[in-house]
Symmetry: C2
Subunit: 212 residues, 2 copies
C-alpha cells in the first residue's frame, strides 16, 4: 500500500497556500479558482492544481476550490489539526521569542517546558512555563511524552543534546543551531540556519549590484 512519496518541494509550498487561504477565509471569501489564487500568490495556476492533486481532488470543475474546505484539508495534511507538545532547549532571546509566539499555540503547538543550563534562569517564567535546569530535560520529555524539541543553544552543545533527545524518545527536532545534527531516521529534523539565510541575502545584494 506504499503511497507515492510527495516531494519536499511540494510540502514546502503548502504552508504558504495555508497562509493565503487563511487570509481569504478571514475576508469571507468562499470560493477561489486556481487562476485567481495564482494571480494573488504569483505562482502558476498549473502548479497550484498539481500541488493539490498530490493529495486527491479538493476542487470541482466549473466551481474552483471551497476556501474553508481546502484550508481544513491542508491543515490535516500538515498535521496541524492535532496538538503537538513542544519543549524549548535554550531559554535565551531566541528561545523566548519562539515560546512567546502565540500563533504557534493557535496552530496546535503546545509549549510545555523550557530548559537552560544557566542557573540564573531557573524558576523564571516564559509565558506560564518555568525554566528548568537542563538536567531535568530527559525525565521531563519521557514523562510528558514530548514530541518536538526546539534547539536554541550554541552549536557545540547542540550535537550531544540531539543524541540525548534521541535517547529519550523525542519525535522531532526544530534545530536553530548552526550545525547539522546526526540522529536516527525516525527523528524528523527541520533546520533553521539563520546565518545561511543571511549569506544568501548577501549574495543577492552583491549580484544585483554587479549586474546593474
Amino acid at each position: 500500500m506504499a503511497e507515492k512519496e510527495i516531494s519536499q518541494a511540494v510540502i514546502a509550498r503548502l504552508p504558504r497556500y495555508f497562509r493565503y487561504l487563511g487570509d481569504l477565509k478571514e475576508k469571507g471569501v468562499e470560493r477561489i479558482s486556481s487562476q485567481e489564487l495564482s494571480s494573488i500568490m504569483k505562482v502558476t495556476a498549473s502548479q497550484i492544481r498539481q500541488d493539490f492533486n498530490n493529495f486527491g481532488g479538493f476542487g470541482q470543475q466549473g466551481y474552483g476550490y471551497n476556501v474553508s474546505y481546502l484550508y481544513e484539508e491542508i491543515s490535516k495534511i500538515l498535521g496541524i489539526d492535532k496538538q503537538h507538545s513542544l519543549v524549548i532547549i535554550g531559554a535565551g532571546h531566541l528561545g523566548k521569542a519562539i515560546a512567546g509566539y502565540t500563533n504557534f499555540t493557535r496552530r496546535g503547538f503546545v509549549f510545555k517546558g523550557a530548559f537552560d543550563c544557566n542557573p540564573d534562569l531557573y524558576g523564571t517564567r516564559i509565558r506560564d512555563v518555568e525554566v528548568r535546569p537542563i538536567e531535568e530535560m530527559e525525565s521531563f520529555v519521557k514523562d510528558n511524552k514530548i514530541e518536538i524539541a526546539v534547539l536554541t543553544i550554541p552549536k557545540d552543545q547542540a550535537v550531544p543534546m540531539a543524541h540525548k533527545l534521541a535517547d529519550c524518545g523525542i519525535k522531532a527536532i526544530w534545530n536553530f543551531a548552526h550545525v547539522d545534527l546526526e540522529v536516527p531516521d525516525k527523528i524528523q529534523v527541520e533546520n533553521v540556519h539563520l546565518s545561511d539565510s543571511l549569506m544568501k541575502l548577501s549574495y543577492n545584494i552583491n549580484r544585483y549590484e554587479n549586474n546593474i
Copy 2:
C-alpha cells in the same frame, strides 16, 4: 557580457559548504577532494564539483581543493568579504536574539541601529546600540546608508514598513514577518517564515507515523 545566471539552488548550498570548509580550516586540514567532502557532507561529489564550477575552477586535478583558498573564494562569492551595515526593526526577543548573535559580526554584518514603536524600550541598549523610536528610522537609514533591514515586527506592520524602507533606499530586507512583502525588484528580500518551517516539521512527523 551577461554572465550566466546561477540558480538559487546552488546559492542556497554555498553557505553549507562555507560552514564545513570553515570547520576543516579550523582543524588544520589543508586540502580536500570532492570525494572526501562528499562523504562528510552527505552530498554527491559530482554536485560539489558542479557547484564550484559555476564560478570557475577552484581545484586542481590530482590534488583536490585547497581548503583555505576555497573558503576565501566562497566568502567572496557570498559577498561576506565586505562589510554590510544592518538595522533591526522590532526590538523584541527575536530582534534581540539576532542583534546579539556575534557570529554575524564576524561575517561582516555590522549592527548599526535598532528601532521599535514601544516607548518603554527607547534608550535601552542591545549590545552597544541604543533602541530608537521607529519615527527616526527613515532619517537614520538615509544618513547612515544602511544596506540591510531586519524586520522582526508583526505582519500587519511589516508591509507598510517595507514600503517605507524602500523609499529610504534600503538595499535588502531580511523578513521574519509571516507575510510576503511587495517591494521593487532592486530590493533583495530573504524570508524566514518560521511558522512555515514548523508546519513542514509537523508534516514530516505525521508522514513518518503513518508510514510505519
